[in-house]
């Protein structure tokens, strides 16, 4: 396709080649077409946003990337290869991690334990070994804990390490979810409305963390978000969807000036 090479962003960051490519994706639920013939790519190291009004098919698209849905028509290319039909956990093992629009944490478990579950795809010890806390399980647990502690430090949630998630306020739960996704050390991180329902301060914090994750670990981020201010500030490139169709794709400025987008989504100025 177009530019498989990298490019340089407005703020001077070097973006790598194509990491993931969606080719002519169509998704149908019975007679309903949720997504029709959408193609776009995600470059390595960039922050890519998918925006669109309610019911545009954004979350469905994210679910296709994470392997939860299989497209009716179309292909997902990942790291230069066509991805066969896979179970979500297999996709996760390939380095795709995500957060959910409506928080999906284990409420009764502590923050630490929740974040540790993000390491599950990296653990290989047998049940017996884990039950006895012996040999491989023990070493694995320590190695994984170290990575988890770094994530906890990074997201500044040390103070709630031992707190059951059910007792946390909403904004912090969102952060814990991000921590769990990060703990998996993903190559691509999918964020489904990371700022939904947050106040201004929480949004600022979350934006900073997203930028820091991208900057510090070089993680490619693909996010869905409603808050236009946040999207335009954070992302390098934006895909705009409406009624399951792609109506725009480009840098925030290009998208902002795209007449179709203005009409369909941002509204016609009065």
């Amino acid at each position: 396709m177009k530019d498989t090479e990298g490019y340089v962003t407005a703020d001077g960051r070097q973006i790598g080649g194509v990491l993931m490519e969606m080719k002519n994706i169509t998704l149908k639920f019975g007679g309903v077409t949720a997504i029709s013939d959408i193609s776009f790519d995600v470059h390595e190291g960039e922050i890519r946003a998918i925006i669109g009004p309610n019911g545009a098919g954004k979350s469905s698209m994210l679910n296709i990337i994470s392997g939860f849905y299989t497209p009716t028509v179309g292909e997902v290319w990942y790291k230069g290869e066509k991805r066969p039909q896979m179970k979500p956990y297999e996709v996760a093992r390939m380095g795709v991690a995500r957060t959910f629009q409506n928080i999906a944490l284990f409420e009764g478990m502590t923050v630490l334990d929740n974040v540790m579950t993000g390491r599950l795809t990296h653990m290989k010890a047998s049940i017996a070994s884990q039950a006895l806390w012996w040999g491989r399980a023990r070493n694995e647990e320590m190695e994984n804990r170290e990575i988890v502690e770094k994530v906890i430090d990074f997201l500044e949630i040390q103070a709630i390490r031992k707190t059951p998630v059910g007792r946390l306020p909403y904004g912090l739960k969102k952060r814990v979810e991000l921590a769990r996704a990060l703990a998996a050390e993903p190559s691509i991180l999918l964020l489904d409305e990371p700022m939904a329902g947050m106040n201004v301060e929480e949004k600022e914090d979350m934006s900073r963390f997203i930028l820091d994750v991208n900057d510090e670990f070089g993680t490619t981020i693909c996010l869905i978000e409603h808050d236009m201010g946040v999207v335009m500030d954070l992302s390098d490139r934006v895909v705009v969807m409406d009624y399951g169709k792609k109506i725009g794709d480009g840098t925030p400025d290009e998208v902002r000036n795209n007449q179709d987008v203005i009409d369909a989504y941002l509204g016609v100025p009065h």
Partner: protein, 662 residues
Amino acid sequence: MGGKDLAHLAEGAEGLRSVPALLHRNATEFGNAPAYREKEYGIWQSWTWAETEKEIEALALGLLNLGVNEGDYVAIIGRNRPTLYWSMVAAQSVGAIPVPLYQDAVAEEMEYVLGHCGARFAIVADQEQADKVIEVQDDLHQFEHLIYVDPRGMRKYDHSHLHEFSHIQEQGRAAREEFLPELKRRREKLTYDDTCVMLYTSGTTGKPKGVVLSNRNIIEAAKSSSQFDHLRRSDSVLAYLPMAWVGDFIFSIGQAYWCGFCVNCPEAPQTMYENLHEIGPTYFFAPPRYFEERITALTIRMEDAGRFKKWLFDTFMAHARKVGPKILDGKPVGMMDRLKYALGQVLVYGPVRNRAGMTKVRVAYTAGEAIGPEIFDFWRSLGINLKQLYGQTEASVFITVQPDGEVRSDTVGVPAPGVEIRIAENGEVFYRSPGAFVEYYKNPESTRDTKDPEGWVATGDAGFIEEDTGHLRIIDRAKDVGQMADGSLFAPKYVENKLKFFPNILEAVVFGAGKDRCTAFINIDLTAVGNWAERNNIAYASYQELAGHPQVLETVQKHVEEVNESVAQDDMLSGCQVHRFLILHKELDADDGELTRTRKVRRKIIGEKFDDLVTALYDGSESVYTETEVTYEDGRKGKIKATLEIRDAKVWPVKPKAMAAE
């Protein structure tokens, strides 16, 4: 002090004339003892004195490599971390002067201090602090290099004058051969009269002043205070109070290096309680507010506890209040009472102390503000040796301290070892001590006003010495003590403290100088009142809404009237009863300039800022509409609008009585 002592002072304490010299002694004599601990990645990491010396040396060499000259000022900004403590000692090692700044200061405040001391270098903790310095550095002509500890988020910055802490250390290690002789030369040159540190006072009025403290000041103060409380190498402290505050410098550097005890740094500011519990320090310092907060939190939890636990807690705490302080002071207590106290120790006091991280505390201090008698007694009744001291930056902390067994909530103790005290005719307290500061930096006028040629320093506080005990009692800031219209004494802080002793009241500001009666602004304590609201199903969305709730006003009114009753008992101050009050629509905040960074009330600024409210308090109106500008955490400004209700409080008749000579 005899001539022999003075000669000894010129040489330094036991021949040690600087903090780097103390470091060297510690690393040589007990190099394997822990010097610093910091919790990181969920685990306590520790450094021995020998390792600490190496880290500091590497940094000092790196600073030489960077071109730090003798006499340069090095600003240090961030929360308590070993790296930043090392930075102070490394700066001293190369003959520079460390200037710790309050980490929560906004950029303009930093600009003033950085400009005033002409700092060429700054060592900061992270991106947040770096951003503030970068924001103002264009206006600072002398400023050259910025060093940051945590590299997170710093990658994209222009690194021509920006350095990572670990890189500076690496460069220092690499150039060890080249710079070590110079480092040794500078380290050995340090004398007892060289500047150890410069600390900016928060200043309840005007611009902050740079207090110059010499090695003599710090080491003598650390030495005598350590002896007074029998501090030793096996002690440990939790360093969590601002590094720019003199107390932290004395505890975490002065006394720690003198005694060789371990300084523990929390993982993050929010984990302080948990870390305190894990470390269990033996020597602890906290402002009164801290002790209040912990009781408030404990009370809230006990309210939610089951009936039996609540009964157990109440019964044994009542017993503790009765006999606990006596047992602590070694006074006679009956056998049955002792047995009951021992039982309480197992069931209640031990667990409470443990939760508060106070199990091992041998000496705990509170200072900075007056502490409520109930709060003070609560901790002491648990068997914690909580004492008060009175001090200030200019004195290297210690002016008076309470000796073990002579502890009371209404005095601040006897003169600390080596300190002389004099009360002036107007009641102002003066002191003279080896810890008394050298001067205010670049401010000879203020120095002259505060410190006379004989070395007596004015504290700015009014007080008196109790004749029978020799303990000092502080009444108020000398300049706040005034007269009311009828000539009777006006001491606002005395009344404010009484008000603040109620858990529901966080802050109070009393007006009345030159007026016929007193009035007050009140800030409610959101934790305590919020919990009460929750319990009584009162919904509120903000501080402002809760503050304006009629039932809250009712409760506060009762508190005010109780205070009036108690104030009326005092012959001298009975005129200070609060006739009218209002609950402020915003919390007083250091970011808005209403409090100092150490959370002291800036009376004059508040009076001017809320001029309309003060007027309303005196003109008899029942409510007042006001708009106030506030500063958000990120520096943006906003406006709060509110209509405040003003209440009249009942006052008690003043008993006419002959003035007793004090």
